[in-house]
């Protein structure tokens, strides 16, 4: 029998003896209650311990997917200018120094740059940091060498972080390990926030006493006595309420946490959890992300004054916000440096020197989040086809996209500039644009509206508007896919006509200039965008065939086959139009537009690729003929106003589009390497007062002027032959015939009849024989 039960036994005896005494009855109950509360507290501790352990050990920070733009490729001959490199270096947060000994630094001397690249885990492997010596000449990179003078064939900068996909509670962070934390940061943090960190067991009685004393003297809360562990617990498990109950809980949990985990683990958790700033709706958590948010570079590249500022922010990220309250922030940072000096963490000289440094906080505009909302929208939509939202917002995936921030930036500038010019006298003009690589379908830039960086209605993806004459190339392509019936010289009647709709209405299309142009060759019908000629052609090839061609070119939404389809009564988004023109630009080979190249796990393992695919969607030779005419549109058709933006020698191809009452103004076209579509109009669908060539074309032209695309050189497919033609009769001529021109035909569709200038006796029997073989 234990002593305890003995005493109880005795008690029982006593109770029996003095059973009527109330006091003993009460005492008995008090003991019971005491025991019970002990039990409850014990159980509660066990519960808390479980919570702490479960949460902490199983704590996998919700690390949002990090999204990167394309890395800038550098090789001799690359079409990269010195300005472009500079803008990329700034975007990546490289520091200008006299000589870039350290990674993340660069120096410049005129057209020559020395860049010390950062190591980076690309999808195809880890690239070490290297010191590059780059020489530019005018429009391109002329030489690329290593610092030791060896010429290099190819190098790339680290991929720019362009955003992250964070969850509904808007917590964003970049995870850091304990070993990634700069020692200066750790020592500053401990000096300022919890100098007994390595000694205490979760709570620090001395610190609490110190804080109490300080607060009593100041008659208010001036100092906290919480340890880092308590702060962590507070952030981790508890609400923001201020109560004794919460404080007790916090202390208990802090002690439990300390019992279970080492100081380093707690420190690492703290460094990732701590709230350090706000970027709109996005909450900046942890030193890893704060470093990018405030300085645009990784934590380990920060010097002492910058690290001290991060520690200064712990006390009140919004009160000490270095962007909004720089003086306050600097004062607090200097205090951090002083405390470090007082505690002997740094010497007085070092502290003094650090205090001289300015804050050097990067502008908010350059912050990597939310700069590209329209593009990110596209990325998110493409990702959601393959990933659960949860994985995207918590697994720390690394997503490599096709975004070219430079092209995006140039296009935004062009659009903003041109729109305010167009708007003179008008109000409420909006615009959207998509720029993609013409051969691969990689989306390079998305502009969802006229205000860059504004995450509102994404017109590039969601504004579904009638495309007007942008549909015409599909009509002409459908015709030219029947080479036995149509070629570029086939006569079309541009004369008034009425077409009966299925519902019995008659439709009488008119030309834009309200004139009819009589008999015109097919190519003119497209180049000058004649409506009547186009409708006649479209009716003769069949609405269903035109709809099929549109589908082959890449639109997925159902197309209603009304006659008005032929003049663009089909509503599409700028992105969908871009797909159509990509297929044309790639010579009939459709590559689905892609915003993502690769996805990596947080650890840098390969997870998924979104490969380049091509599909021969429409015949290359017919597309070649259409593209010939689209070049003519720019040279001397409805797109000729482009000449004031881009040299005619670029041979760009494109098409204007205008809808009824000038509601929508479109331009779609391509260079040798890029395809771009611009829409200008109003959100309320009222008249914008702009045609394709007075509106969208001006934006398109300005974009092209800024991004300096490659000239468009169309290569004829094998089945194309160029034949001398007498333009007056449309009959076959020879080179020597006066005024004869060369016209491309699909083999087998070349006119047989010869113009009068060709004398049959001119050709030898041999020529005739050869001709007989091939015609």
């Amino acid at each position: 029998m234990t002593r305890h039960s003995k005493s109880r036994h005795r008690q029982r005896k006593k109770t029996k003896r003095r059973s009527k005494k109330k006091s003993s009855w009460l005492r008995r109950w008090l003991v019971k209650i005491g025991l019970l509360s002990c039990l409850v507290i014990a159980a509660y501790s066990v519960y808390l311990d479980y919570v702490v352990q479960h949460e902490f050990a199983g704590k996998r920070w919700a690390v949002p997917a990090r999204v990167y733009g394309r890395p800038l490729e550098l090789y001799p001959g690359a079409a990269v200018t010195a300005d472009q490199l500079l803008s990329e270096l700034k975007r990546l947060g490289y520091t200008k120094v006299r000589y870039p000994k350290q990674v993340g630094g660069y120096s410049r001397n005129g057209d020559r740059f020395l860049v010390h690249t950062r190591p980076f885990v690309f999808w195809d492997g880890k690239a070490p940091g290297q010191l590059l010596d780059l020489q530019f000449s005018g429009t391109h990179l002329s030489s690329l060498r290593s610092a030791s003078g060896n010429s290099l064939s190819l190098a790339r900068l680290d991929a720019p972080a362009v955003g992250s996909i964070y969850p509904a509670h808007n917590e964003d962070r970049v995870l850091v390990k304990r070993s990634d934390l700069p020692e200066a940061l750790v020592r500053a943090l401990i000096a300022v926030e919890d100098r007994g960190f390595y000694q205490h067991f979760g709570v620090d009685a001395k610190a609490i006493a110190r804080a109490l004393w300080a607060n009593l003297r100041a008659r208010g809360v001036v100092q906290g006595g919480s340890t880092l562990t308590q702060q962590l617990v507070k952030n981790f498990f508890l609400t923001r309420e201020r109560s004794l109950w919460r404080k007790a809980n916090e202390a208990l949990m802090a002690m439990l946490l300390e019992r279970r985990y080492g100081k380093d683990e707690i420190l690492e958790a703290y460094a990732n959890e701590i709230y350090l700033g706000q970027d709109g709706k996005r909450a900046i958590h942890g030193f890893g992300l704060a470093s990018y948010f405030y300085f645009k570079r990784p934590l380990h590249e920060l010097d002492l004054p910058k690290l001290a500022l991060l520690v200064a922010l712990v006390r009140g990220p919004s009160y000490y916000d270095p962007r909004r309250h720089p003086e306050r922030a600097k004062k607090r940072r200097d205090l951090v440096l002083d405390i470090m000096r007082d505690q002997g963490v740094i010497s007085a000289t070092v502290a003094k020197k650090a205090a001289l440094a300015s804050l050097e906080v990067a502008g908010t505009k350059g912050s990597s989040a939310g700069r590209y909302p329209a593009f990110m929208d596209l990325v998110r939509r493409q990702l959601h086809r393959d990933y659960r939202g949860e994985d995207l917002t918590s697994e720390g995936l690394r997503i490599f996209t096709t975004l070219d921030p430079w092209i995006q930036q140039q296009s935004e500038k062009a659009l903003a500039e041109q729109l305010s010019r167009l708007e003179a006298g008008k109000k409420g003009l909006q615009s959207a644009a998509v720029i993609a690589d013409s051969q691969s379908g990689e989306v390079l830039a998305v502009l969802g509206g006229r205000t860059a960086g504004f995450a509102g209605f994404n017109r590039a993806l969601d504004a579904v508007r009638p495309i007007g004459s942008l549909v015409k190339p599909a009509v002409y392509l459908t015709a030219l896919m029947q080479p036995d019936r149509f070629n570029l010289l086939s006569p079309l009647e541009d004369t008034p006509l009425s077409v009966r709709n299925r519902n019995g209405d008659t439709w009488t299309p008119k030309n834009y200039d309200n004139k009819s142009h009589g008999t015109v060759p097919l190519h003119q019908g497209l180049a000058y965008s004649y409506n009547q000629a186009t409708v006649r052609l479209g009716m003769s090839v069949g609405l269903d065939s035109v709809a099929t061609t549109l589908r082959d070119l890449g639109i997925q939404r159902p197309v209603k086959t009304y006659p008005s389809l032929l003049l663009g009564a089909v509503s599409l988004t700028p992105l969908e139009v871009t797909q159509i023109y990509q297929t044309l630009a790639a010579g009939g080979f459709r590559s689905p537009l892609r915003a993502i190249r690769e996805v990596q796990t947080a650890e840098g393992e390969q997870l998924q690729r979104y490969p380049l695919t091509v599909k021969q969607a429409v015949p290359a030779d017919s597309v070649y003929l259409v593209n010939q005419v689209l070049q003519k549109v720019v040279r001397n058709g409805t797109g000729r106003a482009l000449a004031s933006f881009v040299s005619p020698q670029m041979n760009l191809a494109g098409k204007t589009g205008t809808t009824d009452d000038l509601r929508d103004s479109w331009f779609a076209g391509f260079s040798g390497d890029k395809v771009a579509v611009v829409w200008v109009g109003r959100d309320d669908n009222k008249s914008a007062g702009l045609s394709g060539s007075t509106g969208a074309l001006r934006v398109w032209g300005k974009i092209m002027q800024r991004i300096q695309p490659m000239a468009l050189e169309l290569w004829p497919p094998e089945s194309i032959e160029a034949v001398w033609i007498d333009p007056a009769s449309g009959l076959r001529a020879e080179e020597h015939c006066a005024g004869a021109i060369q016209v491309p035909f699909i083999s087998g569709s070349v006119p047989n009849k010869q113009a009068s200038c060709v004398s049959n006796t001119n050709g030898s029997i041999f020529d005739t024989l050869i001709e007989a073989i091939f015609e």
Partner: protein, 189 residues
């Protein structure tokens, strides 16, 4: 048709490319989207390209008041596109990856090369080969057609592409299509 045509026919270089090797290897474990193993090939065979031998190099059109100011035919016989050092390095890397069975890696490297030289027909052909080895027959065929569209007068490359297409078609049981492609290959000799 000029006499140059005959001259051109007579001088056609009879150059043969090495046979395509196709050691089928298992793909890397990385997922590639849109990669379904059964892809219908028969849906849309590439439009048969009418072969013509046409070595004539026409002069640029002399247009004055004429409507078709558009057409400036490029020279028929372009030299083989010479890959830059950057691209050659990537091609070597891709070859290495292929040899070690890392087809996904090889494809990624070829795509990187194509970003630098999107009109280099050889690169499209090499990507087609990777896809063929991965058993992505429809994609291999389309990539080879794309290569052909850019190959101009590079007959070796054309022949190589047609043989590749033949192989891809045969692999999905389209033997008639394969024979057609083989004829094209022979015509490209």
């Amino acid at each position: 048709m000029s006499k140059k045509a005959i001259l051109g026919l007579a001088l056609l270089p009879v150059l043969l490319t090495g046979c395509l090797e196709s050691a089928y290897r298992a793909g890397a474990p990385v997922r590639e989207s849109g990669q379904s193993p059964v892809q219908s090939v028969s849906k849309r065979a590439p439009v048969p390209v009418r072969q013509r031998s046409e070595p004539a190099t026409p002069q640029a059109a002399d247009d004055k008041e004429v409507q078709i100011a558009v057409y400036t035919p490029p020279p028929r016989f372009r030299p083989k596109p010479v890959a830059s050092a950057a691209v050659s390095g990537l091609v070597e890397t891709a070859e290495r990856q292929k040899r070690s069975g890392d087809m996904t890696g090889a494809a990624a490297t070829m795509e990187r090369a194509l970003r630098i030289e999107p009109r280099n027909a050889h690169l499209w052909n090499q990507l087609a080969e990777v896809r063929l080895e991965q058993g992505q027959f429809a994609q291999a065929e389309d990539l080879a057609s794309k290569s052909n569209a850019l190959a101009a007068a590079d007959r070796d490359l054309r022949r190589n592409n047609w043989l590749l297409i033949a192989k891809a078609r045969r692999s999905v049981g389209n033997s008639a299509g394969a024979r057609l492609a083989e004829n094209k290959a022979n015509f490209s000799r």
